[in-house]
């Protein structure tokens, strides 16, 4: 693959972890600016705050209000160094453990506290 277009091929792409599990999409990309060095794509951000920021200030304010209302103190946003990228195709593979990411916290919480406690919730395929 020659040139990779950030907006066409990278931003908003489906992310999978090292087990090919879907772990969200690239909600934001951060550039790193360092004195004396050219800027480089440094960080992949996954999370609702990043998505809200893209829509506008009002959405960010709504997002923050909801989280405050729910009494969330923990961070629900994943920031992953771009070096973790293993493959860029239809999906982008990251060399990370999906279950440990902050942006997967809700998914893990739902799975362990609710879904798997309901009969038929746990296991592999139906």
């Amino acid at each position: 693959m020659g040139a990779v277009h950030l907006s066409h091929d990278v931003i908003d792409s489906q992310l999978v972890d090292r087990h090919q599990e879907k772990i969200g999409r690239i909600d934001e990309l951060l550039l790193e600016l360092e004195e004396g060095k050219p800027p480089r794509v440094a960080t992949i951000v996954i999370g609702g705050v990043a998505r809200a920021r893209r829509v506008g200030r009002w959405m960010l304010a709504c997002h923050r209000a909801v989280h405050a209302l729910l009494g969330h103190r923990e961070e629900y946003e994943s920031r992953i160094p771009f070096e973790a990228v293993r493959r860029i195709a239809d999906t982008i593979e990251l060399d990370v453990e999906g279950d440990t990411l902050p942006s997967m916290r809700l998914d893990r919480w739902l799975a362990t506290h609710i879904v798997c406690r309901i009969p038929g919730g746990s296991g592999e395929r139906k």
């Binding site: 829509v55 879904v115 309901i118 919730g121 139906k126």
Partner: protein
């Protein structure tokens, strides 16, 4: 041989999936008030839906990506919010109506008020989604949906005037109640062309592991399935035209619609009507909540599949669980199912541009479709549907106000 079994199945699926509460109600109202005259709207709606389904199916089979996935990736998150919110709201309204349809069917069968049936319906539906896989949801509801053929039998037994019906397949202007006529036309289009149908179809192509080999199956399914579905919807309109129109009855309650089959088929007709209403609305309930959960999961990048245990895609499973329970509440507190159905069909019609217009971009993307991009006839058809969708968006609210009463 296996392929043809799949084709047959696909066709059956579309029949089961096509005629649901919206089509039954809006066609019956159309037939009661304007005789056969609105039949052309069903032809237009069915053809449009067949084209949209063929395209989203082809897109999924060739690119191995669902439509919702591509809407997010190719158009970005800001744009994606439009179809997300529009389809979410509209589909939620439709699923409430479907649960209303199931509840009315159970009221007709048992005499117990429909409000009591909404939450049990949601719980049984949830149980099937939770424990069953995609094949069970798709094929189970489709097979049972064949009971809808009773509408065709009912229509034939009433001996429709074929030349008049034939002429009604071409558009014509009403001689009275213009606003009402166009209002019903918009409702019928909203009932025929539902975004959830092609979003579900697109995700279903991936659930069924379609590949480029399935393009033929896709064409036949989208084409033939919709022909059968359209014929049944026309049958519903014809029965209403022959039963209600001569007696001057306007349909304003679901219970009345039962007469369309009870008149030609007697007591058996009533039973068939109840079964059809129950099965098709219940099937649509499952398909719509899944379609919304697919849209959320694919758009936001969660794990999703009706073939995985819920613990493997917790956010997806939680979504359909919350949605189906939430959708049963308005019926449980006594909202009128028919009013809701009418509102949701018009809202559906208004929501179409945000899912139809982006499709025209994706269907011409060689990176996704290689040689299977749209040819000019398909593009022309898509432009016509897109223009139609914009007209529907503009006309929906004024017509709801002028002709909705």
């Amino acid at each position: 041989m296996k392929k043809w079994a799949e084709v047959a199945l696909g066709v059956v699926t579309s029949i089961g999936g096509f005629l649901e509460v919206g089509s039954i109600a809006t066609s019956a109202q159309g037939g009661a008030e304007f005789g056969y005259q609105l039949a052309w709207v069903l032809v237009l709606g069915t053809t449009s839906l067949a084209i949209l389904m063929e395209m989203t199916g082809r897109l999924a089979a060739v690119s191995q990506r669902s439509y919702a996935d591509l809407l997010r990736e190719r158009f970005g998150y800001r744009f994606f919010l439009l179809p997300l919110v529009a389809v979410f709201v509209v589909s939620l309204l439709v699923v409430i109506s479907e649960i209303g349809g199931v509840s009315i069917a159970l009221q007709l069968a048992t005499g117990i008020d429909f409000r009591w049936w909404a939450i049990p319906t949601a719980l049984v539906g949830w149980f099937l989604l939770w424990r069953g896989n995609f094949t069970i949801v798709e094929q189970g509801t489709a097979m049972l949906g064949l009971v809808a053929i009773s509408f065709a039998v009912g229509a034939l037994k009433l001996h429709p005037v074929w030349p008049t019906l034939g002429r009604a397949l071409l558009p014509s202007l009403p001689s009275h109640d213009r606003a009402r006529y166009w209002y019903l036309a918009v409702s019928i289009l909203g009932a025929s062309i539902s975004p959830y149908l092609y979003l579900f179809y697109s995700a279903g192509a991936l659930e069924d592991e379609w590949t480029i080999e399935h393009l033929g199956v896709n064409r036949v399914t989208a084409g033939m399935g919709n022909v059968f579905g359209g014929v049944l919807a026309i049958a519903s309109l014809v029965t209403a035209a022959l039963v209600f129109a001569p007696r001057g009855i306007k349909v304003d309650r679901y219970e009345q619609i039962a007469l369309v089959l009870a008149t030609p088929l007697g007591r058996a007709g009533l039973v068939f009507f109840i079964m059809t209403l129950f099965v098709t609305c219940f099937g649509s309930t499952l398909e719509i909540v899944l379609a919304i959960a697919y849209l959320l999961a694919q758009g936001l990048g969660w794990n999703w599949s009706e073939n995985l245990k819920p613990g493997k895609d917790a956010r997806f499973a939680t979504s359909y669980t919350v949605l189906i329970l939430l959708a049963s509440l308005p019926i449980a507190i006594g909202m009128d199912p028919l009013t809701l159905t009418n509102i949701s069909m018009v809202a559906t019609a208004a929501s179409l541009p945000v899912t139809v217009i982006p499709l025209s971009v994706l269907m011409n993307d060689g990176d996704l479709l290689n040689t299977h991009v749209n040819g000019w006839p398909s593009n022309l058809a898509l432009v016509v549907i897109a223009l139609l969708s914009v007209v529907l968006l503009v006309a929906a609210i004024p017509l709801q106000l002028l002709g909705g009463g």
